[in-house]
């Protein structure tokens, strides 16, 4: 299920951090914009709303109240239980991922407040081995779930992954069952889990925790599916329909609850947690971070 094959095909440009004055071309509409302007729009194209991929740190910055994030389980590292070597060794790939991201895992997990509401959050980083699900990632998710149960908080997982990590073979496959079992326990405690699907979410990630959210949100245009488009095309020997496996396609087919623009994500998610946790709007926890507007809850 490690459908990392399509990753190469769908490699998309990310705005470069180190050149804040540079221009950036939108791969969707071709418009050239100031990077600063793109960044101000939460890394979306000001012309066509194309959502650039962002890394885990940026995602946390965007969703979690400033200064409230506390990372957990940072010390967990992959072990390479099979001594896996293909064209490169797994150890080498971990090192390369470390150089790119400063981490030895495809997720950052921790606790923080979203518009004042304390939650457990797990964010995938596609830059580390295609956001693949290995033992460390599975363990971090389970521990986040356990903290949510202990502290009676909601859970948010932001997925961006090609699927299971082939270098951990069956260890990786079983993380699907492990995370799903832990989510069953969270559900028994009646604590909310919101799943945010971003570009791309596939394979063993999509076929486990990503599709088990009480509420599932997709980012506009994100590619989401079980099998990668190339595998499907090869199998059926036909062209794929326009917009196939994009968030909007999944919404139309009843597979996700909503497609939400990145700039509205924080408010949407915090509102949803407030409803699911029945937090009155006047609790200090909710009020303190929600000062930007006083619109009444929708729906």
């Amino acid at each position: 299920m490690g459908f990392t094959d399509f990753l190469k095909r769908f490699k998309k440009p990310q705005p470069k951090k180190q050149e804040p004055s540079s221009w950036i071309k939108c791969p969707a509409c071709g418009a050239i914009s100031f990077y600063k302007e793109v960044q101000k729009e939460f890394n979306t194209c000001p012309k066509c709303n194309y959502h650039f991929r962002i890394d885990a740190e940026e995602r946390i910055k965007m969703l979690i109240d400033e200064g409230s994030f506390k990372e957990y389980d940072k010390e967990l590292e992959p072990k390479d239980p099979l001594n896996f070597v293909d064209k490169k060794s797994y150890k080498k790939r971990i090192e390369e991922g470390y150089k790119k991201t400063g981490r030895k895992s495809a997720v950052i997990s921790g606790e923080g407040r979203i518009n004042g509401i304390p939650i457990q959050i797990v964010v995938f980083d596609f830059k580390f081995m295609g956001g693949s699900l290995g033992s460390v990632e599975g363990e971090k998710i389970v521990r986040a779930i356990n903290r949510a149960i202990k502290k009676e908080q909601g859970l948010l997982i932001v997925s961006a992954s090609g699927g299971a990590r082939m270098q951990e073979s069956t260890f990786s496959l079983l993380q699907m069952a492990k995370t799903a079992s832990a989510l069953a326990s969270l559900a028994e405690h009646r604590l909310p889990y919101i799943s945010l699907l971003t570009d791309p979410t596939y394979g063993g990630v999509s076929a486990s925790f990503a599709f088990l959210g009480d509420i599932i949100i997709g980012e506009p245009g994100a590619m989401i599916g079980f099998a990668g488009p190339r595998v499907i095309k090869q199998t059926i020997g036909a062209e794929l329909p326009e917009g196939f496996q994009r968030s909007e396609f999944l919404l139309k087919h009843g597979l996700i609850d909503m497609v939400v623009n990145r700039k509205e994500l924080k408010k949407t998610i915090s509102d949803l947690f407030a409803y699911l946790l029945k937090l009155p709007r006047n609790t200090p926890a909710h009020r303190e971070g929600n000062s930007t507007d006083d619109s009444s809850p929708k729906g």
């Binding site: 363990e139 073979s169 990786s172 496959l173 069952a177 063993g204 076929a207 099998a227 196939f244 087919h253």
Partner: protein, 311 residues
């Protein structure tokens, strides 16, 4: 019967024995039979991971329906997910195994060409996984144990499958089976392909037939992606460690069920009997546990999977 490359010498000897018998050449028969015995011993005690994969995919290997026919003395087939269709890549039966009321749910690849097409070569769609879950939930309601027979290259990758939520269907099964309130046992009888296999495999006891495989991706897919070379299937098979023996050593499966000396395809009866014995024995053990303990054991088993550094 299809003959695998490493079975060739064995087949030759068997033919020579037949000829010697026709000639009434008793000394030759005896010599050849000794040689045959040695050849079988040698071949099957030193199978490579790739040879085991070939056995797991042997065209004559018993399928779920073959096993079900041999282990259930009474049975009725159940159909459909109650929402969309009856996916024939998944078969489900209610009846008795060794006198015990039980439900059996299996992945069925189909035997002849027409049957294979009808069953989509054993690659389920979402409605197949939902059919399995519906029937497993019914078993739960009436406190019937469930036996899952796993045999699939994987969940089907197609447009309809994606439109109807292949990911959700698999994920939902993992979630629901993790706390199904009856004893559950799964046996990989041939190929256990990735999430499409695991969707029937979150259970109290997970066993594999000796020459079956269970893997996160097909060796072909892995070779293409990681080696960038379709011909590296043998290397990928070896690296992925997908045989029953390797997985048992790694602590990732509970048990190995023995096969007849020359593989399950040579003797359906013995293979089925071994599966039946395993099911009845494990059912006895699991039925003795209080429900709370059964569920807690299952939960802890899955939570413990994974190898990493750091506390």
């Amino acid at each position: 019967m299809a003959i695998l490359p490493f079975e060739k010498r064995i087949e030759e000897l068997k033919e020579q024995i037949e000829v010697a018998k026709l000639k009434n050449d008793q000394p030759a028969v005896e010599t050849l039979q000794k040689e045959l015995k040695k050849e079988i011993e040698k071949t099957f005690s030193s199978l490579t991971p790739y040879q085991k994969l070939q056995l797991a995919r042997h065209p004559d290997r018993p399928h779920s329906l073959d096993i079900i026919n041999l282990i259930m003395e009474e049975k009725y087939e159940l159909h459909g997910d109650r929402h969309f269709a009856d996916d024939k890549a998944i078969v489900a039966f209610i009846g008795r195994i060794g006198g015990k009321e039980a439900v059996v749910i299996g992945e069925e690849r189909g035997r002849d060409t027409k049957d294979k097409i009808k069953r989509n070569f054993g690659m389920p769609h979402p409605e197949g996984y939902r059919k399995a879950l519906r029937i497993a939930k019914m078993a739960e309601k009436f406190k019937l144990p469930v036996l899952f027979l796993i045999d699939t290259a994987g969940a089907f990758p197609g447009i309809g499958a994606e439109e109807r939520g292949q990911s959700e269907a698999i994920a939902r099964n993992l979630f629901e089976l993790s706390r199904l309130k009856v004893p559950t046992i799964a046996v990989v009888i041939g190929e256990g392909g990735s999430g499409g296999a695991l969707a029937l495999g979150v259970v109290d006891r997970f066993a594999m037939l000796k020459y079956s495989v269970f893997s996160v991706i097909s060796p072909e897919g892995c070779a293409a992606i990681l080696w960038g070379d379709n011909k590296k299937v043998e290397s990928a098979t070896k690296a992925l460690k997908i045989s029953a023996e390797e997985l048992k050593k790694l602590g990732l499966i509970d048990d190995i069920i023995d096969e007849p000396k020359e593989g399950a395809h040579r003797d359906y009866q013995t293979t089925a009997q071994n599966i039946k014995n395993y099911f009845l024995q494990k059912l006895d053990e699991l039925s003795a546990l209080p429900l709370e303990q059964l569920l807690q054991q299952r939960f802890e088993k899955y939570l413990n999977y994974g190898e990493f550094k750091g506390k």
